[in-house]
Structures are given as C-alpha cells and as structure tokens.
Symmetry: C2
Subunit: 244 residues, 2 copies
Amino acid sequence: MLMLQDGPLTRKLSAFVALSGSDLETLDRFHRRRRCFTAGYELIHEGQKNQSAYILAEGWACSYKMLSDGERQIVDFQVPGDFLGLRSVLFRTTDHSVEAITAIQASEVLASDILEGFATAPRLATAVLWAASRDEAMVVEHLVNLGRRSAEVRMAHFLLELGARLQLVGIGDKTGFDCPLTQYHLADVLGLSAVHVNRVLRHLREEGLVAFQKGRVSFGDFDGLVDRAGFDTGYLDQDGPLLR
Amino acid sequence: MLMLQDGPLTRKLSAFVALSGSDLETLDRFHRRRRCFTAGYELIHEGQKNQSAYILAEGWACSYKMLSDGERQIVDFQVPGDFLGLRSVLFRTTDHSVEAITAIQASEVLASDILEGFATAPRLATAVLWAASRDEAMVVEHLVNLGRRSAEVRMAHFLLELGARLQLVGIGDKTGFDCPLTQYHLADVLGLSAVHVNRVLRHLREEGLVAFQKGRVSFGDFDGLVDRAGFDTGYLDQDGPLLR
DNA sequence: CGATCAGTTGAGAATGGTCAAATTCGGTGG
DNA sequence: CCACCGAATTTGACCATTCTCAACTGATCG
C-alpha cells in the first residue's frame, strides 16, 4: 500500500465520513498537480471560463466580488482543506474571483479528475458534496450576519466561525488561532469600513472577549464571546450526507 | 405519447438546456404528488430531519432564518418553477425554514425520485444542477447587496432581479409584475426596517423609477433603474452546465 | 532614512433605526 | 350598503450606528 497524504482535506472529510482505503487513494490522486502562488495572486477571475478548481493545502485565500464603484465584498475565506472554485469547474463561468491572501500551496483539480474520481469512489463523492453543502450553509449564515446583526456581534460571530473551521483542520484551538488577515480584510467580509472594524476590535479587546493582534486571534473569554455573538454551531456540523 | 405538463419549471429549464422527450417524461413524474398549502404554512422547518423537497407550481414562498432576538432574515424568495428545500433532501437536516407567502401549489419530490430520475435522464440532471447553481449565485449576490450597497440601490437591485426571474417563467414583463410581498417582506430580505423600506420606495417612486403599489411592481424607467442599481445580469444567465 | 502599509484615534456627517401616530384598504358581519 | 376591524402603509421627530475625512503612530523594507 502506498504512503497516502494526510492533508487538511482528508482530516476535514474524515471528521464526517469514514473514508475507505480506495477513497483515500482517489483523494490522493487529486493532489498530483501541486502549485505554489504568491500572496495577492488571483487564481480565479470573475467571468472567466473553463477554470480549474484547487484544493488549498497551505495558506489562506478569499473569494470576493468587485462592485462597479471599486468596493469589494468578500464572500468567504478559504483555509487549508477548502476547495477553491469547485463550482466554477462544474459550470463554465464563475461569478466571483479568488485570490491568495498569503503565499499558498494548492493542488489543481481538473473537472475530469472530479468526475472520474466520483465514479470510482462514491463515498468520497458524498463527502465532497457534504463539504460543498457546508460552504453554502456558511454563505447563508454570512448573509444573516450582514443583514441582521450589529457590527460588534457580526465580528464576534465571524471570529468564532473562523475558529471552529480552523480547529477542524487542526489549526488553532479554544485559546485562539494564527490569522494573516488585515483589518481591511475584515472590513470587506463584514461590510464595514476599516475604521469601524478597528473600533469594534478595540471594544471587544477592552471587554476581554477577544484580541486580534499581531497576526493572532486570542479568545479571552470564549463562552462570553459565544454568548455575545449568539453563536450556534448548528449550521457547521450537519449530519453526514444521505447516502451514508 | 403522453400529454406532458408544461409548468414553469419546464419553461425555466428549457431556456438553458434542450430537454429531450424522455427528460420531459421524467420531469413529469416529479409532479405526481401535488399538494396545496395555505398562506403562512411552514413547509420546511430549520433543524428538522428527512424533509422532502418541493417544486413550486403556483404562488410565492420564502426561505429564511430566525435569530435568537426574534428578528428574521429572508434568504430568498421562491416563485413558480423554483425548488423548495432541494438541498435539505440530499443532506439530512436543513439550516433554514421555508414558508408559503401566498396560498401555494407545489409538487412533493422525494429523494428517491430525484436520484432515480437523474440516473435515467442525465440531461435533466444537469439542468436541475444548473438551476441549483443559479440559486447559489443569487444568494452570493444578495450577500454583496447587503454588505456593500445603500438601501436605495439594494432595493432597486432586488426588484430588478425579481423581475428578471419572473420573466423567465412567463410572469411579468419589462413593464412590471404582480407581487404579493408586503413591505415587511422587503425589510426582512434587504436587512432594513419596514419604515425605511417605505421611505426608499417613496423616493424611487417620486423619481419615476419604480412603483410598488397594490400588489404590483411597475417599472417606470427600466433603464434608469438598471443604471441606478448597477444591475448586471451576469450572475443570472450563466452558460449551460459542463455536460452540454 | 524615506517610503509604504497596517493600525489607531478624533470630529463631524450621513444613513438608517426606533417610537409613535395617522391613514388607507380589503374584508367581514350586520 | 355600511360600520367596523385588523393589517399594511405612510409620515414625522428624534436617536444610534456607522461612515468619511483627516491626521498621526509604528513597523517593515529596500
């Protein structure tokens, strides 16, 4: 038997579906085309056609849309173990862009890899669809965040969600996590100005709930923060998919 | 050959993929379990398990999440030809609720219907996946709407999107469409207060761009409204799916 | 040692929310 | 047909959150 990779994607999927040896081999074949990109590189461009997808192995990325007035709305961040542009590989054009936030390593996955892989490893297929469904649930939760929560609650909720995602792939724990985002990134994902992000962070820090400083998020009072945010992990830990 | 139904879903899917006779027969079998629900009935409840999905044939519905403080964020409205809870049928639990806005007629679709149907009619499968992908793109666009657009632009954008969707299923045209939504519905989808919704509507009406009155949306100056909203239909009319 | 970029802070302005009170409208019972 | 009810809409006054502009600090980097 081969030495199989044990990357963050494997770790994430295994938390929800018990993958067989053949599933793991198929998943391993997804990682043949390893690529490196520098921080700021735009991997996927809105409106472009016939893109490939990637599995992020190392570093952070974000998906976003630009508006005509030059403003940007970040839809979501991607951390190790996440897919980049999975939907753009199944449908010809993509409706948003994806760029690297840090220097990243990612495996390029072709549409044919996915289609063939799913045919031979149905259990893997359902696991990947589960992950895609979770991503969609997160987008919906962001929508609620933007529509109905105050800046401070929004920030608290966002940091908790990010923490939960990172724990799942073994990065960070209850005390906090390393985080390469700038306050401008937070502004663009939360629909706030960078100035207000700064004020909100200060307030949360002064209350001893979370500190966001020098590339690290430190939870000072985890339960207090959960309470403040009204954070319910329900949308993150769904049951496994239908086909067992 | 049977007399096949020609509902709004058929109409919508046919606009993007040429469905064969056998696709249409399979699609027809999705419509065997016709149900009626009164206005306000909650078809799908957040957190519930093993739900079925529905195809909306007549009337309007909305999907939403409630917050702990009693506020509501509507994620999207569903109009004839849309699926209700498609994702909740493939994954065990659903992360949001769906309720009927008007009295509605909908066909109940079981997970087994979908899986069997997709096996025998792959072209139909890709068409349905295309529709699901379009729905996802709309959620992302709503996210951008909430995060980065002013109340007035948000409203304009929303009404234009709704108009475009309804035209596709043959309800309404460039002059406007009938619309059973209250200003409270608009507030809950746009993340505004009902009072402010009213003010924004008055302003748009006074400028002659759109009127929202007595259950009808009338476009007074369609091009002017498109301009005001920065509306770009790109995310709605994607190309057909990969498999032709 | 400039230059640049992220972060920080203050002052004033604007967008949108809250509260409260009319007004309109569709239906419903008499 | 009319009176009445409740829901939806409309408007005004005031308030809160968040934005914008502008300046300043501190770190990093060539």
